[in-house]
């Protein structure tokens, strides 16, 4: 079978798959493998960042990323290109990460940077003190994020840590944009209030 796909510029997946259209695949499964490999190469950073931002740093991030890609592999043949591939990937990553959170319901940061793999991934140019300060900030921030509801948490994470605008978040979560704004502002107030209370954010007295 010759894998042929409709090449449409506004359909990211079709664009990706179009690169493999000259490949003669033995069957649909082979074509799916080709498509999945391409998706992995181009989306792994996004998946990792999303999972990491939702979960925070933890020794289970790689496991969750694995689950995300397993889900992507399972659902990729059914992806019809109705939404952007990145939106679709975000949605899966967020859902899998939240599902993992619900299952675990436990705090993170216990092993950040302390296991072998994590140690090897530390940027070489940064000293230990800076790493510890960063870790402390992360712990404080996620201590506040943990107090948010999952709905607020996802919106806050996608906007503040992933840099997505409200419209993108609305597409990913399939909710109205006003709902996104509402949750985002509410989450921000809650986080700021908690961080201020714990003096992570200095509360300057009015002069």
């Amino acid at each position: 079978m010759v894998a042929t796909y409709q090449e449409t510029s506004d359909r990211p997946l079709a664009s990706i798959l179009s690169r493999t259209k000259t490949v003669i695949a033995d069957d649909d499964a082979a074509a799916n493998v080709l498509a999945f490999d391409t998706v992995y190469r181009e989306q792994r950073g996004r998946v990792l960042a999303t999972v990491r931002s939702v979960l925070g740093a933890s020794d289970e991030i790689e496991d969750v990323v694995q689950l995300v890609f397993i889900e992507i592999h399972r659902c990729l043949p059914r992806f019809e290109g109705r939404s952007k591939l990145s939106t679709w990937i975000y949605r899966i990553a967020v859902n899998v990460a939240l599902q993992h959170l619900r299952k675990k319901k436990r705090h993170r940061w216990l092993t950040l940077g302390l296991t072998g793999d994590e140690d090897q991934r530390q940027t070489s140019g940064r000293n230990l003190t800076a790493q510890l300060e960063d870790r402390e900030i992360l712990e404080e921030v996620y201590a506040s994020v943990d107090k948010l509801s999952q709905k607020k948490r996802v919106v806050w994470v996608l906007h503040e840590l992933q840099g997505l605008d409200p419209q993108q978040i609305a597409d990913i979560l399939d909710i109205p944009m006003n709902t996104v704004r509402s949750r985002l502002l509410s989450a921000r107030r809650d986080v700021m209030a908690d961080l201020t209370r714990r003096r992570v954010v200095p509360e300057r007295e009015a002069t």
Binding site: R52, V65, R135, V141
Partner: protein, 373 residues
């Protein structure tokens, strides 16, 4: 609403502080309270950006992660098929139970089980016509079992093939055919198997007497017994076909009715309680005289099976079965297959006459005539 309220509201609702309206920013620069609020939000923004940077420096997925993902995918695919494993396990368990049950039944059935096993082990080659000597089974340890020979078409029990000759010894033997028909071969009698299929069972009386209890509930089955050039077509009944040393055939019907087709092709129906004796024709007598002993005795003890006889209920409507064109057609085909075209042509005319209510299709008649030529 005061300017402070509007500015604080704008700060709190700003998705991005950089997009804060200039008027509100100017007010915050001059208002201590609003300025403090804006400063806290900016502090929060700095903390958030730092958090983002920290997360971004955590590194990328390694090649090992890709390997783990592929393994996870393969494992995930396998894990998504638990129903298949369940089905296989269930099927294996069911098969084991069936086998165990069969073994237990075979062991408990005493001579039944032993005989069945014997039949399975010593079943003859179905392609070679042979003679089976139906011998009584060895005396069982407990109560003697009925002397029944179970036979099925290539299945469990005695394998009977076309051309086989079943000879009863010094006592009558009953063959349970396909769980529906019982064929009782009288002592010192022999029956040749013409067809032994679930949908057609044809026997030829070589010598002696055979009584058939036929349950044609299925309606489409064919059961016939030949004696010389006499064919007894069963319509659902119990009947006996006997042949004496001179070649004469006697047909007695105990229940239901049968159709008797003589060598001349004429067919007559015999109802319950009736009997008919047909002398051998000259041609048949000559054929019989030429034929050497038609029964060759096989080694004793071969293919002896004893089973319990299940109670059989005759189909209540069996006696009402008509001599249909289908049955006539099959009778004629049988005659043709036996190489007796003259009898077949006569039988054809007789069958057409006998089946006016359900005539044989003209096309079939034409084909038969062409075949006989």
């Amino acid at each position: 609403m005061s300017a402070c309220s509007q500015t604080q509201r704008a700060i709190a609702q700003a998705v991005s502080l950089s997009a804060l309206d200039e008027a509100h920013a100017a007010h915050a620069a001059t208002c201590a309270q609003c300025g403090a609020l804006l400063d806290r939000y900016r502090q929060l923004d700095r903390v958030t950006r730092r958090t983002r940077r920290v997360l971004e420096t955590e590194g990328e997925l390694s090649p090992n992660d890709w390997v783990r993902i592929r393994e996870g995918i393969d494992r995930g695919i396998a894990d998504r098929r638990p129903w298949l494993r369940t089905a296989l396990v269930t099927a294996a368990a069911a098969a084991a139970i069936v086998v165990a049950f069969a073994i237990v039944q075979g062991g408990q059935g005493s001579d039944v089980g032993r005989a069945s096993a014997l039949a399975l082990d010593e079943v003859s080659q179905p392609t070679a016509p042979q003679v089976a000597i139906v011998q009584p089974a060895p005396a069982p340890d407990l109560a003697p079992a009925p002397e029944i020979l179970a036979a099925a078409e290539g299945g469990v029990g005695l394998t009977v093939a076309s051309g086989d000759v079943l000879e009863a010894g010094d006592a009558a033997r009953t063959i349970d055919a396909f769980g529906r028909h019982h064929v009782t071969i009288a002592a010192d009698s022999a029956v040749r198997v013409i067809d032994w299929r679930s949908d057609k069972l044809a026997l030829e009386v070589v010598s002696g007497e055979v009584t058939c209890d036929v349950n044609r509930a299925q309606g489409e089955d064919v059961f016939e017994v030949r004696s010389g050039d006499v064919t007894v077509r069963v319509l659902g009944t119990i009947f006996t076909v006997a042949r004496d040393d001179a070649g004469a055939t006697r047909v007695a019907v105990s229940r239901g009715r049968v159709g008797v087709i003589e060598g001349t092709g004429a067919m007559r129906e015999i109802a319950a309680g009736e009997s008919v004796e047909i002398a051998a024709t000259t041609a048949q007598a000559e054929r019989d005289a030429v034929v050497e002993p038609r029964v060759r005795r096989a080694p004793r003890g071969q293919r002896v099976i004893q089973i319990d006889v299940p109670d059989q209920q005759m189909d209540g409507s069996a006696a009402e079965v008509a001599w249909t064109s289908s049955l006539a057609y099959q009778a004629i085909v049988s005659a043709i297959d036996a190489g007796n075209c003259e009898a077949a042509m006569k039988a054809l005319d007789a069958a057409v006459e006998a089946s006016r209510r359900s005539p044989i299709p003209a096309g079939a008649v034409t084909k038969l005539r062409a075949r006989c030529r």
